[in-house]
Amino acid sequence: MYLSTIDRPRGAPRPGRRGALTAVGANVLVLGAVSLLTDVSSEMVTAVLPLYLVLTLHLGPAAYGVLDGLYTGATALLRLVGGYTADRFRTRKAVAAVGYGMSALAKLGLLAAGAPTAIGAVIVADRAGKGLRTAPRDALIALSVPEPLLGRAFGTHRAMDSAGAFAGPLVALGVLAVAGTTAAAFDALFFTSFCIACAALLTLAVFARDHRDERPAAPAPAPRAALGLLRGSGTRRLLCAATALGLSTVGDGFVYLVLLRRQGFSTGWFPWLAVGTSLVYLLLATPFGALADRYGRAVLLRWGYLALAGVYLLLASPFPGTPVTLACLCLYGAFYACTDGVLMALAAPAFPPALRTTGLACVQTAQALAYFASSVGFGLAWAAWGPATASGAAVVAVAGALAVTVPALKDRTVEETSA
């Protein structure tokens, strides 16, 4: 139980006594603001990149497809490197700042890159920055609040994060509405994106606090110790859960494509499916985080799986109509709210403080790799059996994930592994 006793600031608010915003702590709000700004910056580029590539750089579909495939998997290793570096030099904030900085510079790189290969390099730099910063940032969040409030803290952070993802495309539309769609307008858009990314970096540098004073002069963890992390049964169970989670998630794109095929609505609605899901996620992330603190994070994780199974069941079902689509999006957003931040809140206390960032990076990497594998698998299943049967198979995968996760993550895992 040392985590909760050491990390809880004396006299810090107890859960429930004050409002959620003050309870999660200023540092979480600062990190949430950094993520919000960064997501506005990167989503405004993502939203218009296809437009830019085709209209301004005159790239055809095939060239674009090649570009898009470049960055898959390129970030998995960097995530682990980032996590271990942050632990080794006990500077999570600095590593996170390097990650945020790389993504900011990538926006500037878009101004200079004209050829497809250069654009590809810029995209890889952006992704690499994201890979580098995620684990140190989550470790900073974990250090910012007492352990019983972790669910709420991660929930609040994820809500702010997805608010940024939600706002990014709108900002991009605003810029293009003012400046047009000439090459100069895209330059202005990329520069604006760079400025917003710099504001995020400034926020991080000035206001975010690293938690360096928890233990004076602890020896830096050796690489062997990082490897030893994998031997702990707690870690293995978390990795199991993360992998199961990744394997049972077939990818947003597929969910929306199956919805599109089955419900037969106009393709113009396609982008709105993602918007609807993020809206639900944004609204539910904080309350579900608080519920996780109260009733157990593993419990919420299980509810998340059930919501996901509900999504796939609806996709496999023959029921038509808007209510089914709306139910799908609500369940899908709820699934994210039950799992994304909650898994980190569950994982963070399970690792010794000196190797926490490495541990979080391991969990995130396992999840990402499994997710990649399941997307490929679902694509093949779709091609072979059709969308309905493939969705049915996804329900089976979720059931399998539940069967693996339930015994692996009993509640109060937190106490068991850290006591």
């Binding site: 600031p9 301004t56 400046a179 400034l202 000035v206 606090r209 091609a383």
Partner: protein, 356 residues
Amino acid sequence: MTQQLTDRSPAAPAAPPSARRRVVAASLGFTALAVLAALAVVGARPDPSKAVAERGAVSLRPAAAPLQTGPRLVALSTASGSQGRLVAVSPEAPGAPRAVSGLSCARFDAAAGTGLCLRLDGNLTTYQMTVVDSALHIKDAIPLVGVPNRARVSPSGRLVAWTVFVTGDSYNGGRFSTRAGILDTRTDNLVPTLEDWPVTVAGRPYHAKDLNFWGVTFARDDRRFYATMSTAGHRYLVEGDLAERRLRTVRDGVECPSLSPDGTRIAFKAARGGDPRHGWGLAVLDLASGRVTPLAEEHSVDDQAVWLDSRTVAYALPRGRGHADVWRTAADGTGRPRLLVRDAESPAVLDTDRQG
């Protein structure tokens, strides 16, 4: 030993001087960034004084008699100040100043007095397909979903075809797909996508989920057409029949076909070594003999060529960011490519008897 985080809120009234200094410095930084971004956006606004909007100065009407001087061309300008505008190019002096219309498009084609303009639909996330008459008055508009990629008008001006590029940035698993549609402007009969039509590959019925179509080119009878169909790593030339609504493959490895005025040959692009990552080479296929003649252009050509006449094809090559030039080269593979129109793309020939 643990410091309280809750009282470190930057706006706390009792913040020590150093904290206050940090807040001031950060605020100055935010303001500077906001000013820089605003300046960049406002500075990128198109200058209305530079835009020449002489609507009607460009006409799509074919000349009454064949001209001695060469084909009359329209194209989309890529020059700063008139980017995206439809311009008319003098056949005698393609480099000379040109008439600029008020019509802006992302892709354009024209034949027999009918123009097809794929353009942004005000709301920046969507496009529309617009059919214009020879005076550039809008006759018909249909919303499109996706980024326009190819536009083609049939030789009679009756049929129009378009390809959009349905990208799925974050939501399509990183893959692209295209959608090709055809509209009969006389009957308003619409084919929203070719994906629903039955297909035969090498004579056998073929079913797959991954069919993508692009680059339609029409025959003179307003019934047959050619297009590219991709499936399972192949890029087939397909022949379609609008009356029977069927498609059959003709040949593998042929993209973005363009039928010659006499209907015997197809100019196309082919991925070098079968891999689009190595770029595309331009070639001409003789339909009767199946003989393929590579053309003299050595640059990668990612465009659907047009026939200037029965001996010459034209195509756009990108130059730097946002610019392109239209080049021409002999259809029999001889000679060297020559610059036809500087700072332009989407060329369309108004008065040859070109086809497709």
